[in-house]
Amino acid sequence: MPSKYSAEKASLGLRLGALGTLLFLYVPILIIFLYAFTTDEKTFSFPLPGLTTKWFGVALGRADLWSALTLSLQIALIATASALILGTLAAAAVYRSNFFGKDAISLLLILPIALPGIVTGIALRSAIGSLDIPFSYWTIVIGHATFCIVVVYNNVLARFRRMQGSQVEASMDLGANSFQTFRYVVLPNIATALLAGGMLAFALSFDEVIVTTFTAGQQTTLPIWIFSQLTRPRDRPVTNVVAMFVILITFLPIFFAQKISAEASDTEGDK
């Protein structure tokens, strides 16, 4: 196990390099937090001319932000719910049986996150155009679900594979039918994987912009609102506040999802 290496000390150069990389990952995020409090309206000047919390109030009062946020949340929730159902079904099928084309199915599910987002985006856009489907809330949800399914699928499948022994058979042997077995044995076993997969899916959907750009038409989700500010900045201080908000709302679920997964594989290692 690599942990035994902790006995040896890393060289100073390596430790500094590692620290440098870590800082590179996180300092920009801290800078966003900092700018949420700037008094500067027109530019991104540094050092900050002054500190204020008034932009939080301004952001709260903006109707366009509220509607973008509502749309994003709705989409993320529906996409996550669909991904939970479809991803779990697919994971259960792949786990319990051996069938022709099993590997192809895994590949197909992974494709939407393996290919650059723009491919999925323009593909969906082509389909929407070819079939003359009007842009709607549902065109966005459908786009998001394609890449959310795989994170639920991966999490749940990994948990199925870690499930100890013949629990499903044991449950049926003791008189439980398939529904009871799912409720009392399978669900408790995969619950945290569903939670982790669901949170990942939610965070992915909530700040997705590339695919959304192609499937949203004239609708504005929160990421699309931010993107419009990136190319044509009009409300700099408000954008800073929104950026901080998005970090919090996506970092936390991902953090907990990763922690759940890490703990699950840890208890595995202890056995």
């Binding site: 995020i29 800078i31 540094f46 082509s126 394609t146």
Partner: protein, 301 residues
Amino acid sequence: MLTRISTYFYRRPNLSLALLLGLPLLYMFVVYLGSLFALLLNSFYYLEEFTGLVVREFTLRTYVTVFSPTNLGIFGRTAGMAAAVTIADALIAFPLAYYIAKFASRRARTWLYIAVTVPLWSSYLVRVYSWKLILAKEGILSWFINLFHMNFLLDWLLSLPEIGGSSLSLSPIGMFIAFCYIWLPYMIVPIQTALERVPKSLIEASGDLGASASQTFRKVILPLAYPGVIAGSIFTFSLTLGDFIVPQSLGNSRFFIGQAVYSHQGTSGNIPLAAALTMGPVVIMIIYLLLARKTGAFDAL
């Protein structure tokens, strides 16, 4: 009642399997593969310039446009950027990946792993935005450069053709920094995974045989980390090829592939050309994957 339904399905394992798989497969086949097919189909249509309408008949003329000098320039520029980002990320990622894999305690390893993967999954757009703040003319980076009286260096860099621009936040250099930042976690994780597979005995054996620490590093650790680097490069390369957010936010009028696709489908409604242009990254990635497979990189994914 439920028991009777269960019994019915238990006797028909194939039917149960079909029911489980049916919904997700239907979704992926119809929505995803269907869309990919529509993409391919659209790339063989063309836009009638006078009417501005898409003509739905088979033609190769859109592909002819794809190979125009302008578009070839875009492909070259994008691939060059992707390559530069990939190399830089491999260099930046290595120390942290090496430290996590080989030196961190079990507890620290879990936390560092989470620290790397959280930005991998989240806040992509906002993390691009952070560089808008940092790279701005009046922003924090300029302030630092000023502090150390290095302005002449920055001015010289920005005056370079191809990679320069009016300010860091509107130049390929700025884009390069932002790309490196955004995709860095995708490089750290596979390198770390590859390094974790290097057994301790191998490093000790090298030491026993009289190799110095730096020799061990060069002759043993680097070659074994190589599949991880290749695996990471698949992500960094592919993601850079397809991205349009960074060029749109930090670039200038010199287009990148993603940006071209984005603008063709948007303002002019030229979906056929956008579709055909997208085939560029797809083909480049397929070639890249085929080459990468030979190095055994897929085991490190």
